[in-house]
Amino acid sequence: MSAIPMETGLLLAGVLFMLGLISVMIRRNIIFMLISVEIMLNAAGLAFIVAGSHWAQPDGQIMFIFILTMAAAEVSVGLALILQIHHQLKTLNSDAANFMKG
């Protein structure tokens, strides 16, 4: 069960996090940016699981549960904000919302 070295799991988490980071920087569509944030949160949870598996402690999995809870709350509030932005500005371009006026 422990044949997988810890570095490999952490490298996978790092690669997934980097892909999400690239996507959140190059995209202008606000839904794609939300999806990228989900990818990054998932990668962070993967790092916790890898560390918890390495030391055979349940703490890593508990941190993943907390990250999961936070991701669920974040995506619901984020989607409500996206609906409001689409209703007010009639676009999903995040550059259209860079002025602080309702």
Binding site: I31, N42, H54, A56, Q61, I62, L79, L81, H87, L92
Partner: protein, 185 residues
Amino acid sequence: MELTFYIAAAVAVLATIMVITRFNMIHALLYLVVSFLAVAVVFLTMGAPFMAALEVIVYAGAIVVLIIFVIMMLSLTREDVEQEKAWLQPKLWMGPALLSFVLLAELVYLLVIAEMPADPAAGSYVDARAVGLALYGPYVLGVQLSGILLMAGIVGAYHLGRQKKKVIHRFLQEKEPKKERSTVL
């Protein structure tokens, strides 16, 4: 078990690359489901079966379905896909991608030269019982804070998603221009 991990890791990385290069949102979400399922397999090989089930249920189930519902409400057209294609020019994604690759190279270097401590437990299988005992033992405060966070999320999503009604009085209502009000939420 080791081969399973490497195959699942490759599938996860490839599916994530496909997610961030799609122009159509629904296609990207389908690849996102594949990516989450592959990560769930990685969790299974890491000896965390309960987390694998939660990943499939919450991430691939609930969150992706929520995003799909919102995309269906927005009723996007083919022009939006073309717009997305026009936005994603190579000169636009080259810079951030290169800088991120530099950061990843540093991370890989640091992970490779670092000396990982040898794992004390040979079998690193942590079952759901140990997780539950720790969750409701030392971490019970975190569980309560998660409950508060979810409550705030529900209230915030309801408040933000609601469309404003601008009815002052029923006699004054005729003066205002009749706005087309979509039936969201």
